[in-house]
């Protein structure tokens, strides 16, 4: 009910109802993926953290988009390898994405341009911090352990390198990419070029 109240500004279309859960098959990968999350615990942790760190002095103004929707969008963005714009656009048209965001019923409204703006998603992300991410992961791990799906008895530790993205292109990155491109453009093996030279 609370979720519906938050999304009221785009769920009150004039068209007919679509029951999202009835439309998305149970074998759909996104549905199965979304059903594995302990959403109630995750959303409560995010809300608690935001309330402590960013207290809202007044309840005036339009209700924000629900945490459940924004958190699911952020996760889906990584699962489906999308940008902010792409995932927000998919939420408008893809019923499986709606299901993953916890939306069970929508009204058809062709004139509605968007459900959630990418700017809203960026603002939500800006409020996440290291402690909250650790808590979310601990809650997910605890849920999996409680169901008896995984065990922490024998663990493996390792590290991996993560390249810095192109926020600001530096000389080293340009040089590395140029080198990679030039090596790609070269003939793959000298043996393939050799017969031509012989002719």
């Amino acid at each position: 009910m609370r979720l519906l109240r938050h999304l009221q500004h785009w769920l009150t279309g004039q068209g007919f109802h679509i029951a999202v859960a009835d439309f998305v098959p149970e074998t759909h990968p996104v549905r199965q993926w979304a059903d594995t999350f302990p959403w109630v615990a995750l959303v409560a942790a995010v809300d608690r953290s935001f309330a402590q760190r960013f207290p809202t002095p007044t309840a005036r103004g339009r209700a924000p988009v629900a945490t459940r929707v924004l958190l699911a969008l952020e996760l889906l963005k990584h699962e489906l390898h999308c940008s902010d714009e792409q995932i927000c656009s998919q939420l408008r048209t893809d019923l499986a994405v709606m299901y993953a965001c916890g939306i069970r019923e929508v009204r058809v409204e062709r004139s509605q341009g968007h459900f959630v703006l990418p700017e809203g998603l960026a603002q939500f992300r800006r409020r996440l911090d290291a402690a909250l991410m650790d808590e979310l992961l601990a809650l997910q791990a605890a849920a999996a352990m409680e169901q008896g799906l995984v065990s922490p008895a024998h663990l493996v530790v390792d590290t991996f390198p993560s390249e810095q993205g192109s926020q600001r292109v530096n000389d080293a990155a340009t040089l590395y990419k140029a080198k990679k491109k030039s090596s790609r453009s070269l003939p793959t093996s000298p043996s393939s070029a050799l017969p031509r030279a012989r002719r």
Binding site: W33, L75, H81, S151, V157, T159, E163, Q164, G165
Partner: protein, 313 residues
Amino acid sequence: MRRFGRQCRGQGKVFVSLVRQTETQLLATGQAVVGLARAAQECVRGAAHLTEDQQGRWATQLTGALAAHHQIVTQSRRLTQGKLLTQCKIVNAYDPTIAPICKGKSNCPTQFGRKPGLIAEPASGFIFAFALPVGNPADPSYVVPLVDKVQTAIAHVAGRPTLAIHSVAGDLALNDSKLRETLHGRGILTVGIPQTVEPLTPAPTPEEIRTVLHEAGLHHQRTPHQVQLACASGYSRPVVESIIASLLCRGAARITYKGHRGAIVQIGMAVLAHNAATVRRIHQDRLSTRAQKFRRLLRLKRHNVNEFNVPKN
């Protein structure tokens, strides 16, 4: 082509004199910046038309800029004087938490980025925790914070009070005597961390098991069966690579979010998405033969295909 600095490995030439000349010019150019920044700080303090929030924001930004400048100046002075750097080189003036990292390939230049660490279950690939320290610290420094995070997650479990970490495995980079002592002190076996390049014994003899328990001093805490399992589930490069590959394809390969906090959020979201996909695979019983065997030995739940799939939320 002329290049600055040197390559990680390979035959790249080092242009020391050119580096020193450039650093000297940069120091001379940046000398005026400190005075200007301090004058700006004074102006901000005395500006009556700015609100408290605005003043605070500007003051924080100027202090951050001065601190970054101080770090860069220190680094430049050491380079011009021909001294070794005490820590990783600053590679981005806007984000000093980025460090040079090596990808482990021969003949490639040093990459700039971050080095996340993870602790995972080798059977299914479920990641229990991740760590993203500032810079590029040694691998053993990752282990204790990661183990702490797993124990925090175990504390969240209400229904199964007997859960505990029995062993931790890793590659040769984790071979550190202090780390072993710390883990043994917590009742955790370290048989999965190799001491040489020799391969680990997957099926140890009773004598070897007794030696392991004796060395760790865990006779009363760990059983021979747990040692056997720890040896069998030791570090396996293909297993770890598959977990890392899953994270990389979920956006952990390139950090595009800004700053250290942004990197933590991006890696964290990728890990959460990966874990959900892993749980989905466990539900569908799509696991390797090795993983299925381990799950049987660990007495983990097998998905009942006849169970009615009802969403919980």
